[in-house]
Structures are given as structure tokens and as C-alpha cells.
Amino acid sequence: MRGLPLALVAAALAFTGAAGPAAADRYVHANNSAYDTLDPHVVGDVARVATRLNFYDGLYRWVDNPPQLIPWLATSHTVSDDGLVWTFSLRDDVPFHDGSLMTAEDVVWSVERMLALKRGASTLFLPVLDPGATKALDDTTVEFTLKTPSAIFGSIVSDIYVMNSDLVKENEVDGDWGQAWLTDHVAGSGSYMLDRYDPAVGFIGERFEDHFAGWGESYYDEIEFRTVLETNTRVQGLMRGDYQGLDGYLAPDQIARLRDSDNVQIIEQESMRVFHFAMNNRRPPFDDVNFRKAMAHAFDYEGFIGSILQDSVVRNPTIIPNNMWGAPKDVEGYTFDLEKAKEYLDKVEGPIRTIHIGTLAGFSETEQAASLLQNALAKIGVTAEIESAPWPVVNSRMQDPEQMYDMVPYWKSTYYADPNNWIGELYGARYIPTRNVSGYDNPEVNARLEKALVSTDQAERQTLYEEAARIVYDDAAGIWIYNTKWYGPYSTEAAGIRFSPVGNAQDMRWAHPAD
């Protein structure tokens, strides 16, 4: 019963504005990107992962580091010998926030919704799963019949966020699958229930006491994820005690500042998030491998990692994180060498025009990386222009081949622990243009990636990914810079932060106030 009076206090504080330091059982997270929607089926990025992890549940869930899948809505699964039929057993005790129990029909409806909307995580499922191929065998059994065997299907079912289908259907308008309503409402079973939401401010969640996974001895009764675009405001707010946690995208300069504060702890973890430049391989002169190699040789890797990032990260020569299997260990990486860059540039056949680099507003690292490249390119006679825009804008432009910038520096985070998350999605033709934003399409690479997706032989898959990574590297399809360490800035009042490279510790059910 301990939770109830505290929840009331927290709710009362929230409604009275709660401007001062947060109550001890309340967690406030300052996020560097806006929550423009609460719909878990239309977005798939880390910037907006908090809504998915805290309001909804998936069939399985990724936790810890190295990331592990634990049973969640599903308790187990079996796969047919041909690798096509996946049968999941579901829990029978999962209540939605309105008290009704989840059934296999809800899972089926949620999968169909996700596939119909063709956004968010659906681009991972559509290549292997047709609409109508998911069936409820009984209340607690759901069966997926895939088009082709998939080595990663088991890893991505964590992204099937299950909705209360009856509730959403009541709010459907003109067959929109409840899209309009779910933008600012929640129909999930997740650890927190929606209390308040304002796209300009963020959201507040109240603990769902009846969550099927139960609760430990200590927890946060209320969580708030607030959009605070200004880096300095986030940093100062954490030091002052206004926030209990920040995003894990702060530059080393900020981390160094935070380390000096008595109110702040920095949680360090090995991670898998590769910082790279996506290059639009479709558009001349980027369709010429010599031009791309010139770009790869024009980035000052050492200066960026050593000086700007103060060696807080490690060089990653290909798109697959060094600490992930499938990353070729013998590739040394392109070097910063303007002579070589010039040589490659001279071999480019067509005309060389001004190139446009899109950077992420609020993520100054992307702008500094772009400036560094722009500076080096100027020395070899290539003009680059930098355009900054908020992540949701950059992200939607990237997925449109017509509007995609020539280059975009950004991070590829972990959504599931498999090399396909990086090389498959970013350079496999099946993911053009939604995830493979550079439009890179090489039959030799595609053959290997496709084979790796259906093979169940781990050793073979590893070889295939290593080979594919070497070819993509030789083609200089992108500029791969570093694999990050995760520096999680939290208040010393917060404990139990459970980090996983998938979700970046924003699954708040494990966290609790420090004793």
C-alpha cells in the first residue's frame, strides 16, 4: 500500500506545477529531442524510446549490457524446422491500463496495425512478414508465418508493442488505425500510465501498480520526460537537482563539467552506437567511389576523437561496432590524408559541385564533425555547406531519396544486438530508403546480407557479415568514425539505472530513488 499515498502526493505536486526540486519518488528526465507523438508504431528512434518502453510492452525485452533478451509478454517461443513458423506463448495475466486482460488477438491486431502503417519498426518486419500472416491460435498463443526464414526475427519481436485493441478500435476515425487518437493517448500495458502529455513540453507517467511484472521494493511513482533542447539548461538543471537524468548524448566537455558536481553521477558503460556520416550514394558525384574515398580521407579522425571528444570514444573503422561479432578485425580504417583525398578527387569523372551536409540541431557534435570535414574539404577545393535542423526534420528528409542531404553525420544505435542492426539496415538494399538512407546497393553485399538473414549457422553468419563489411568499406559507402561509450548523467539521488545499449537506460521501471 506504500505506493498509493505517495502517488497522490506526486500527482498533487504535478498539478500544482512542481517547479522546485522534484519529490524523492519522482524522476524527471531532460531530453534533447521533442516527443512529437506517443504512438509506438510510428517512430523507432532512441530519442523517443522512453514512450515506447514505459507505456508499452513488447513480446520480449532487451535488458543489461551486453544486451540480453528476457521473456516479457511472451514466455517462450518455438520455431518450425523450416524456420518459417514462429509460435509464441503469451502470459495470461497481463492487464492493460484500463484493467482488461491482454489476449493473443491484441498481439495480432497490433502487428497488423504496425505493418499497415509502414512506419517505425515495421520496416524491419515487412521484408519477412506479410499482413495477415499472424494468427491467434488461442488466447495465449500467437503464430507468425514468415515469407522467408529470418535469423533476426527473434531479436526484433521486442519491437512488437502490444496495444489494447478494443480501446483503440473505439477511437478509430475513418479506418486510421487510431493514429490520430494515439498521438496523444496511450493504450498499453506498460509500467507507467499516461498522466499528462504536451508535445511542446513532454510527458508525465504515473506508475501502473498492476503491471504484470510486479514491482520491487523501491521505484519511482511518477516519471516525467521533459523536452529541454538547450544543452546548458539540461546540464545546469541536473547539477541543481531539477532533473534526475539526462540523455546520453552529451559532449565530453559537458561530462567533464558534470563530474565536478557533487549532485551528479556519471554511469559509464561499453556501448554500441556508431557515429558516422551517411553519404547519399545515389547522387553524383557521390555515385563515384573515388569521390567517396576522397571524403573518407578528408575527415580528421584523430583530431575529432582526440581533441574534440578528448578520447572518450574509440575509433570504429567500419559500420559494425568493434565489440559486436561480425565486425572484421583486420580493417584499419581510412586515415586523414588530404594528399590521398586529392588523388582520389582527381580521378572523379563528372563535375564536382557544392555538397550539402545536414546536421542535428541540439547535437553540437554533429555540427563540429561537419565543420571539421567542411574545413578539410575546402583545402582540396570542395565546397561544403552545412544546414542544421531538428532531428525529426532531418530524419524525415533522410528517408526521402529526393530530399536526402548529400551527407548526414549521426549515430546508429542498437535496436537489437545483431550485425544486421548496423550493416544490414544501413547498406542492405532491402532497407532502401527508410533505413538504408544512403541508397547504397551492391549485389555482392546484398547477397551476403540476405544469406546472413536466413542462416541459422552462427559461424557462417559471422563470416558473411565480415565479408560484407569489408566490401562496404572498400566502397567507402560512408565515413565511419567511432563507437561510443555511454556516459549516463544521473543525479546521485537516482539508483537502479539499468543500462542496455538497446533503449539507453530509459526503461524506468528498474530505477528507484537512492536510499
Binding site: N232, S307, I308, Q368, S371, E387
Partner: protein, 280 residues
């Protein structure tokens, strides 16, 4: 020459004129005065965020470039934006105000209602909307400022022209058969020039401030242009530790805007004795 003497005799105006003269000189001589002229586009990553010292008078920025040199070069952009934007505003606003004020009637009313529409929206909001739509660049900042600034001159000239129109010397000129164009340009315009000059001087300061705001919001010159507003925006992240990073461009903006305002006040005193500051 008496005008200049009177200007220099007014201490505030003289300071204003001095600041503006310094700004112009700095802009012209930036390549000579800057200790590291290459730092407009050159980075020295091992020298990031150094505090001010004898080598780097204003310290260094996040890419290790010398801030003092960048601020000197930034003066060029500031002047260019202010002069062109205000110039275009005057070129659009003055003729419109003159024609509307002289002819009056429905055509004059129409022109003034058009300017009212622009004045109804706060200038910075309109400028942000225009700059955002057109994309971030110096040219678009100038366009946005010009498009939102001309009504101020149109309003002013309209009011002055209406007051002037009833004067006896205008009626005399008209009676002698002078064309409307001649009356407007040779008789009215010289007599309202002082108001325009004063408005222009003060408008320069306001324009620089708005341009810096647009730069701060990321709508101005793209990197690595050493635009002042943009530099402050970059520096936010490093406050309060690297205080010099934001302070240097902030101080530069402060000086220039103050310079134009003091000069504007001084000019008004000289050109329009009726509304002179304080009792002398």
C-alpha cells in the same frame, strides 16, 4: 562643417560616431588587424577553448580558432547585413510613404494598410518565419529583414509628408506648375530627410540586433561564418566555464548597437531641434 562640429561637441553622439567609425575601419582592415586571419575557416583542435591571453586576446572557440580574429571578420558580415537590409528598407519604404502621403485618397490608404499588415506582426517573428522558409543564409537574413523593415520608413515618411503637404511653400511650388514628382523629390523629401536619417541610424542598431537574433537561432549564416549571433549560439554550451566565448561577440554587438543609438540621438538633436534631449 558646422553639423559635424555640433555632432562632435555632443559627447554621446561623438562616442556613437567614434564607435561606428571604428566598426567600419575594423571591417575594412580585418585582414590586417586580425592576428590570425586564417582562423575564419582554420581550426586548431589542440587549442580549443583557451581563455584570453596575450596571444588570443578574446580566447579561442570550440574548434580552437582565435575569437578576436573571428570577431573582426564578423564585423564585415554585420555591416553588410545592416547596410543592405536598411538600404533596401529605405528604398522601398520612403517612396511608398511619399506617394501615399502626397496623394492620399484610396491609393494612399491601400499602401498604408499594406504596411499596417506588416507592422501588426512583431518584426522578429515575421523575420524568423521568412528566414526559416527560405533556408539559413546571409542573403535570406537580409531579405527577411528588408521585407519586414520597410513599413517603419513608410509610416514615418507618410506622416511627415502629410504634415508637409499643407505648407505654403509646397502650395507655392504647385501653383507655379511644378510636377508632382518635382514637388515630392525636390521640396518635400529634403525637408523630411532629417527624420529619415535619424530613423535610419537607430534602425541600423535594431537591424543588427535582429540579425544577431536570427543568427543565434541558427537561421543566419551557416558555419564556419564568424557571424556574431551565431558565435553566441555556439558558445551557450560552454557557459559559464568558457565565458569569453559568448562574452566577446556579445560585447561587440553591444558596442555597435550602442554606437548607432547614440549617433541617432545626436543626429536628432542636430537635425531636429524641436525634440532635443533634455534641457541644455
Amino acid at each position: 562643417m558646422t553639423g559635424l562640429k555640433r555632432l562632435l561637441a555632443d559627447r554621446a553622439a561623438a562616442i556613437g560616431a567614434g564607435l561606428i567609425a571604428a566598426l567600419v575601419l575594423v571591417a575594412i582592415l580585418a585582414p590586417v588587424l586580425a592576428p590570425f586571419p586564417g582562423d575564419v575557416s582554420e581550426f586548431h583542435l589542440t587549442e580549443r577553448l583557451l581563455p584570453p591571453d596575450a596571444t588570443h586576446l578574446f580566447g579561442t572557440d570550440r574548434m580552437g580558432s582565435d575569437l578576436f580574429s573571428r570577431i573582426l571578420f564578423g564585423a564585415r558580415i554585420t555591416i553588410a547585413i545592416a547596410v543592405i537590409a536598411v538600404g533596401v528598407s529605405v528604398a522601398i519604404g520612403v517612396p511608398i510613404g511619399l506617394v501615399a502621403g502626397y496623394y492620399g485618397g484610396w491609393s494612399g490608404g491601400l499602401l498604408m494598410r499594406a504596411s499596417d499588415i506588416f507592422l501588426a506582426v512583431p518584426q522578429i517573428v515575421l523575420a524568423i518565419a521568412i528566414a526559416q522558409t527560405l533556408g539559413p543564409s546571409v542573403e535570406n537574413v537580409i531579405l527577411a529583414l528588408s521585407a519586414t523593415y520597410w513599413p517603419f520608413w513608410a509610416r514615418l515618411v507618410y506622416a511627415e509628408t502629410r504634415a508637409m503637404k499643407g505648407q505654403v511653400f509646397i502650395e507655392a511650388a504647385q501653383a507655379l506648375g511644378a510636377s508632382d514628382f518635382r514637388v515630392m523629390v525636390l521640396h518635400i523629401l529634403p525637408n523630411i530627410a532629417s527624420a529619415i536619417i535619424v530613423r535610419t541610424s537607430i534602425g541600423m542598431g535594431a537591424t543588427i540586433l535582429t540579425a544577431a537574433a536570427l543568427g543565434f537561432l541558427g537561421l543566419g549564416a551557416p558555419p564556419p561564418t564568424p557571424e556574431w549571433g551565431r558565435t553566441i549560439s555556439e558558445a551557450r554550451e560552454f557557459l559559464p566555464e568558457a565565458w569569453w566565448y559568448a562574452a566577446a561577440p556579445g560585447f561587440a554587438i553591444f558596442l555597435v548597437v550602442m554606437g548607432f543609438n547614440l549617433l541617432g540621438d545626436g543626429l536628432r538633436d542636430i537635425l531636429d531641434p524641436k525634440i532635443r534631449r533634455g534641457a541644455k
